[in-house]
Assembly symmetry: C2
Homo-oligomer: 199 residues x 2
């Protein structure tokens, strides 16, 4: 796994040839149990790396389309799986806990529901106030510039725009770690503001 | 291939499990012939993508340790290969042209020799004044923060530090595209200054 912008954050990626972007997963190493977000299948190397960092206690899935390798990893490593509450009735996996807007999943990790996105309950996660972790709605296809899912994919364009603007209004965002496309490790708030102004 | 911070720049990557970082290559699509820098082996998908963007006319290798897939790609696609002049006597490939400090390889692409690095002639490349493309000396193991090769790997630590400071003194650097480790698409000059101050 690759180190992200903090010593306790790691990621691994997979190139998606249909979209010509990388998909990304995040690991937060912490006392009280490591957290994975939208985990892609792990290579043997990354599986060993993850085990050397203490394995995984919780897996958070931001939306129904980001289950990826979660079921396999949860089974292998005995992790609890948390999913978006608004997608419970159709979620592809059984979850140990369903997450609503503005929940503190573990200390320092807050959910934000992104209303209007591709699925009904998509969540973003704010980690210790300065790192925003996104699933699908907010993404990065051009290095350094955030974009929103195209209108044709959205349940409600205007609600989706409001969701983006809500994220842009969060103060002090340094990093935006996108599930799909390039991460931004610095000046993430600026990029969120540029995106919000463009909509 | 993934789009970088400009519509005419693309990259592809390969995870290196020994270092837990990605290695990166750069493609500049331009009239007068596309340029590849430190090209890794291409997947079939990326090979087709490259061909759809006009193939490749020139391959620039920043140092002897970054030949990677250059010979294969040059053979397949009929590209000319350019290497660092100070490494000519020991370079693993035959080159069509040898590059010295401050050469304009093609219009808008300038070489900078990074004296003191791991190999004698390592080059960085400045693309249209705002995008610095590095080989080995300047790299990024922690998202958003540049670092220098460890002293033990350097021919001359003090010269290497001067080389980094020379790059940090370039005005208007927006992006730093590292051969090894995360790219920085925005505020690259700031990151170069932070690195230079830390040495």
């Amino acid at each position: 796994m690759k180190q992200l912008h903090r010593k306790d954050l790691f990621g691994w990626s997979e190139f998606n040839p249909e979209r010509n972007i990388d998909f990304h997963s995040v690991l937060w190493v912490r006392e009280g149990g490591n957290v994975l977000i939208d985990p892609l299948p792990l290579s043997e190397h990354d599986h060993e790396h993850l085990q050397s960092l203490g394995g995984v206690e919780y897996i958070i899935i931001t939306n129904s389309d980001h289950c990826r390798g979660a079921e396999q990893i949860a089974g292998d490593m005995g992790a609890k799986v948390f999913g978006p509450a608004e997608e419970e009735s159709t979620f592809p996996l059984s979850c140990d806990r369903w997450l609503y807007d503005l929940e503190e999943v573990v200390p320092g990790l807050i959910t934000y529901r992104l209303d209007g996105s591709k699925t009904t309950g998509e969540l973003a996660l704010l980690l210790e106030k300065d790192t925003l972790i996104t699933g699908d709605l907010i993404r990065c296809h051009v290095g350094g510039e955030l974009c929103m899912l195209p209108e044709v994919k959205l349940i409600d364009y205007h609600k989706a725009v409001q969701s983006v603007k809500r994220m842009a209004a969060l103060p002090g965002i340094k990093a935006v770690l996108n599930g799909d496309g390039w991460p931004l490790f610095n000046h993430g708030g600026e990029a969120l503001h540029r995106l919000a102004r463009s909509l």
